[in-house]
């Protein structure tokens, strides 16, 4: 059974300018020990999908559909019921470690809070577990760090603390929302290898939300590309990278610097801007920016269909060859 199974999820926000549809019915499931990368530009709905799962939607947000966590519908649960799950069986690593730790609480207090809340441990036992976990995420002198405040640690160190906090209760599912975006490159690599190790060791299902394809390539087994609240392409990580079938995926890959082709070709950006979610273009949402668009793209929204075992795409074009 999948750890999390999302079916036909729609997330919308009521704003003074009208309804904004951030997620337009996506399906996704993640198994134990699997890592799925969710890729897309800002505003593609990748974060909001999992905010809905965590019960963290903004006040004006509404979600419809099903989110089954270990077979139990968790969409629409009250905060009390959700609190049994979140932080415990399902936890989240936030994007910015500089702001995601409470500034006036010692690292130790924040870590043990999770354990005393969910596992009913005493202070002493919780502290011992927390120290052990800090050691696992390779923080030097963990006992000393426990007594320090967040502002006394560096960004990479704080992100490791966040990871430790998320893993303390040994969750079934770990959601990492842009876990490396706020870190500098050398630290990114360390944090990624750390997450890979921990995932393999604890057999946790990992959802990696990012716009950085490099991160996905290094960590994910499967990739889901989102655009304007829809899944446009999905497949195993190798084939997505070597053989993208959706023009948007191809655009993303072409806009990424590649060390093996340095100097040979120029980086190409995807022309245009992400669409206004209140006024999506008719037919395919990517059409206005797409080099391969033809009449059918305007009239009919492409459905997500299987093109090979484990591979799906939502595009009317069979092949992406250059159009004259």
């Amino acid at each position: 059974m999948a750890v999390i199974d999302i079916r036909n999820l729609e997330v919308g926000f009521d704003t003074p300018e009208g309804k904004v549809q951030a997620v337009n019915g996506i399906n996704l499931s993640v198994d134990r020990g699997e890592c799925i990368g969710i890729v897309g530009e800002s505003g593609s709905g990748k974060s909001q999908t999992f905010m809905a799962a965590m019960g963290l939607l903004a006040r004006n947000g509404t979600a419809r559909g099903e989110i089954l966590f270990q077979g139990e519908q968790i969409l629409g649960l009250g905060s009390r019921a959700l609190n049994r799950i979140r932080g415990n069986a399902m936890s989240m690593i936030f994007q910015d470690p500089m702001t995601a730790l409470t500034p006036h609480l010692r690292i130790g207090d924040q870590l043990t809070e999770v354990l005393t809340t969910h596992k009913g441990l005493g202070k002493r036992a919780a502290a011992a577990r927390a120290v052990a976990m800090l050691e696992q995420v390779r923080i030097p002198e963990p006992a000393r760090r426990m007594r320090q405040y967040p502002h006394e640690l560096s960004g990479g160190m704080r992100q490791r603390v966040m990871i430790a906090m998320a893993l303390l209760c040994e969750p079934e599912l770990l959601i990492a929302d842009e876990p490396t975006t706020a870190l500098d490159v050398t630290v990114q690599a360390q944090v990624l290898s750390l997450m890979r190790d921990l995932k393999d060791r604890l057999n946790t299902a990992l959802v990696l939300i990012t716009h950085d394809l490099g991160v996905v390539a290094g960590l994910a087994d499967r990739v889901m590309v989102m655009y304007a609240g829809l899944v446009v392409e999905e497949g195993p990580v190798e084939t997505i990278f070597t053989d993208p079938r959706h023009p948007y995926t191809q655009g993303l890959l072409n806009s990424m610097p590649r060390i093996d082709r340095a100097g040979e070709e120029r980086l190409t950006a995807i022309p245009g801007q992400p669409p206004n979610l209140q006024r999506l273009p008719s037919g395919c949402a990517f059409r206005p920016r797409c080099a391969y668009a033809f009449e059918r793209c305007e009239q009919e929204r492409p459905e997500l269909e299987d093109i090979a075992p484990g591979r799906r795409k939502a595009c009317h074009r069979e092949r992406l060859e250059a159009v004259s």
């Binding site: 963290l56 905060s79 609190n83 932080g87 995601a100 409470t102 609480l105 006992a143 007594r147």
Partner: protein, 296 residues
């Protein structure tokens, strides 16, 4: 946290330095604030122990020393009042009552104001609306009228005055705290706490309230002098503490009546009051600077 495990090597035990400890260190480098703290501490100390060690009792009448000026030989440092009581010990007694009222009323306002404001701000929506409209209504009630009615119905007593003052002062506190909470609750660390399954009361108490103590600390230093002033005003109107007990306001009111014949009766209590208010304002200034070093 003192019984935490020690680092394996023999490095000196590091105690993390919290933002508050940082602020305290900066405050101690602010000369005006430190001087104000020292002076205020002296006044408070005198007010607390003075009446016990002073040679005269605050309600003892000396019929042969009525309304005399400061006279060290007779042992009247500040002189006596119109019925022959030692003004020095009465001023200290008055300061004691004023400080007591200030502390009690400020604590009441803190307790109610912080909880009320934090809950309104964090829960938000309709609850927030209802709670804050109630505050608006309370604001709209004429305060003096409210106090006079209370005094008429229940008779004059100090406890009632604490309650009346506290009941008014918490309103502003609640507004300040609510505003701070609104900005805090969308910060990532609160979201992270929600995401890690911490219960809502715990989030308010542990993750939000300690974070808004900065502005609250500043506001406290403004509330205390304000409460002292309002108490003086009430006593001046004859609604405050009752004879023979006294407060700075009562003393100033009596002194004002005898300003022409016995100016010391006004000067000494007024100086003590002014000194205390000055000190609180300097401390408030210092606390604000210390908590927000970038914004000077």
């Amino acid at each position: 946290m003192t019984n935490g495990t020690q680092a394996p090597d023999m490095a000196p035990p590091v105690r993390g330095r919290s933002l508050w400890q940082d602020a305290l260190r900066r405050l101690s480098h602010n000369r005006a604030a430190v001087a104000a703290v020292v002076v205020l501490a002296l006044v408070v100390l005198l007010a607390v122990v003075g009446p016990w060690i002073a040679p005269h009792a605050y309600d003892e009448l000396y019929f042969d020393h009525v309304a005399i000026g400061p006279d060290l030989d007779a042992g009247f440092l500040f002189g006596t009042d119109t019925v022959g009581r030692d003004l020095f010990v009465r001023t200290l007694m008055g300061a004691r009552i004023s400080i007591l009222v200030a502390l009690a009323a400020t604590s009441v306002s803190l307790l109610i104001g912080i909880l009320y404001g934090a809950i309104a701000g964090f829960v938000g929506g309709r609850v927030d609306n209802l709670m804050m409209r109630f505050v608006d209504i309370m604001y709209a009630l004429p305060f003096m009228f409210f106090v006079i009615i209370l005094m008429v119905v229940f008779g004059r007593n100090i406890v009632l005055m604490f309650l009346a003052l506290g009941a008014v002062e918490w309103l502003t506190m609640a507004r300040i705290v609510r505003g701070q909470t609104l900005t805090l609750k969308n910060r990532e660390f609160v979201e992270a706490a929600v995401a890690s399954g911490v219960t809502r009361p715990r989030i308010i108490l542990r993750h939000i309230i300690p974070n808004l103590l900065g502005p609250v600390a500043v506001y406290i230093t403004l509330t205390i002098p304000q409460v002292i002033l309002v108490e003086s005003f009430l006593s001046f109107l004859g609604l405050g503490v009752q004879e023979p007990l006294t407060s700075l306001g009562v003393l100033i009111s009596e002194g004002a009546d005898e300003m022409e014949t016995a100016p010391w009766m006004l000067i000494f209590p007024a100086t003590v009051l002014a000194t205390m208010l000055f000190c609180f304002n300097f401390i408030g200034d210092g606390v604000r600077d210390a908590l927000d070093p970038k914004d000077r």
